[in-house]
Amino acid sequence: MGKNETIKVALVGNPNTGKTSLFNQLTGLNQKVGNYPGITVEKKTGISKLDKNTSATIVDLPGTYSINPNTLDENIVLRTLLDKNHVDYPDVIVVVADIENIKRNLLLFSQIKDLQIPTILAINMSDQLAKKGISIDIEILKEDLKTKVILISARKNIGIDSLKKAILNCNYLNTKPLAVISNRIDADFFRKIKEKFPDQHLYQSWLNITQAENLNILKGDEKKAVQEFRKDGEKLKALQHKETILRYKQINDILKKNYKRDISKGTDLRSKLDKILIHKFYGYIIFGLILFVIFQSVFDLATVPMDFIDEAFAKLSNWTKGVMPHGKFTDLITEGVIPGIGGIVIFIPQIAILFLFVAILEETGYMSRVVFLMDKIMRKYGMSGKSVVPLISGTACAIPAIMAARNINGWKERLITILVTPFTTCSARLPVYAIIIALIIPQKRFLGIFSLQGLTLLTLYFIGFASALFSGYLLHKFLKVKSSSFFVIEMPNYKLPSLKNTLITVLEKTKEFVFGAGKIILAISIILWFLASNGPNDFKNAEEILKSESVNQNIDSDEYKQQLASYKLEHSYIGIMGKSIEPIIKPLGYDWKIGIALISSFAAREVFVGTLATIYSVGSNDENNTTIKQRMAAEINPETGGKQFNFPSGMSLLVFYAFAMQCMGTLAIVKRETNSWKWPLLQLFGMGILAYITAFITYTVLS
């Protein structure tokens, strides 16, 4: 290798093999997460220093059991390795295998090896050979697999240097295939393929043919020729099966010579833990307890940093207002951009804590047990056991939750999960619930222990989950979507989570949320700011109109300033929008002021509280009415003469917020994930109508 060269390395491997540990070990924190162009699968790349002059760009490809993909993520592996013009097309592939499941790992290896790209096999967890009762002869394996085989332990940093050396010398690796794709499967068929595509190696053509629907890289004549071979789908399927059986036969022949395993060793922990964790009774109790701990932590632990962030951004806004010259631009920064960013940052503590738990549950192997426990239950509601993760994540924020639905294999099950996840009570609903509950539910205790306010909140959570399941059931019955769903999951070994891996995962996921969803939330905040701070003539002449109306006003008094702000909001574009929807929302017990808050909730639901704070800032002559809650409590409904936030209208609002799809960020993600406007629009109108009807009934019955 010459001076300052870069080698492109792709890491490939089954899930749960420690591939990510190896990636972290090779690159340290020198890594970044981006997106593959055009699709939203996250792409992890990092730099590793191999020697003085050479470094490697390492791509951590999504974990997969086979090169034949079943999910969007797995498709990346195929696309990257089959397309020589792909930016990440590697100089060398490192296949990471787990010593315990070596057979299954070698299936992927044998597929990869046939791509005729230099390939190194790194066998991980080699430090546990004795403990697991395994003996393996690397020298013979090297010969049979026609490439370099290296024993490593990513967690204990063993064998990493030898692996780096092997990557450096990748040009000398044997790129011959293991010779499975050949006449042994169907001599006649493969001869025809070779005749049609004489310049490609046979496996490339074979994948082009069998995976045409997942590739989309072929054009013109080549595409036509491929279609010709795809005519007999049944035959292709049969050949794929034959291929897999032959590959395993070869692997078994190879392993017979050099791999021995005493299966009595090392399975104790699995069976002991499985006995409790998926027990028909204790299994659910433990899962329930874990959920309880997660929710408790998400809400309790997160309050401190959230309050801090809230305050810090308010201070930052004020400070910026002080140091910058007066004008539109300053307003944009202090009233649009800073609160907009604050509105994203405030979610970080909850989301990070939730991701931390999810990462730990996945790293330990427990999540697969939850999927196993819940699959049958979730299937009744049109979902899969794998839908549990998105539904739990939805209690923090629906956006990352919907992205987590990618792991679900069947399209229908995945779609239903995406559609119902926004029903779960996300953290943006909490501030709305909190303030309304405080206003309308008395601070009393039920049976002496349960606080009524707490019970109301709990009920709202329950309504969230129940409506997610119920709508899943309806969609399952009425949605006509063609989809073949299947369910095959690995039940991995239990292991202690690695601190480094867990933290890196949390960091990445949080970053993905901030920069992905954050952009949308920020943009909407700025639009709403514009609508609230601009308006037609009445808005522009607000000061003159107010001055002429109230002669004795001291224009420096706080009262006047608040009156002005409120007048301006009323006559701003958003105020006009609020007024124009008033006739529609009146039957629910809301006035135009709440209308404004409903509209601005589209940026993020919790904006409701801040918007009302601005609107109700008027009329607070009473020195005591300083907090938002007090102002809201004092608000009078001019028509009834009673309180605006009474029990019926408050309950109606709670119900409305529980059901309505008021989050543009979520709608944008659903559009991206389903690749169609049909589904986000179904959510918007379906959930909107449901919210409207239930809020109407609530208000009518209660008042």
């Binding site: 079943n70 499941n101 299954r104 399927k237 998926i278």
Partner: protein, 75 residues
Amino acid sequence: MATTIANLKVGERGVIEDLDFDFVPLILLEMGCLPGIEVELIQIAPLQDPLYIRVNDSHLAIRKETAKHITIKKF
């Protein structure tokens, strides 16, 4: 005795004889569920589905609807 994985009791084993590929996805084959391979039913989920099996050193969970299309010869 020929039967399917769906009919095994916990702890019972058998050898896979045939898979009906109209119902069994390729991935299951790729994960090691092949004719001639020994399979053991480790546990059944509390609601009788899915099934937790060990096959070819892999521990997998599959649904009954798939399992009943995998014919085995019971030990």
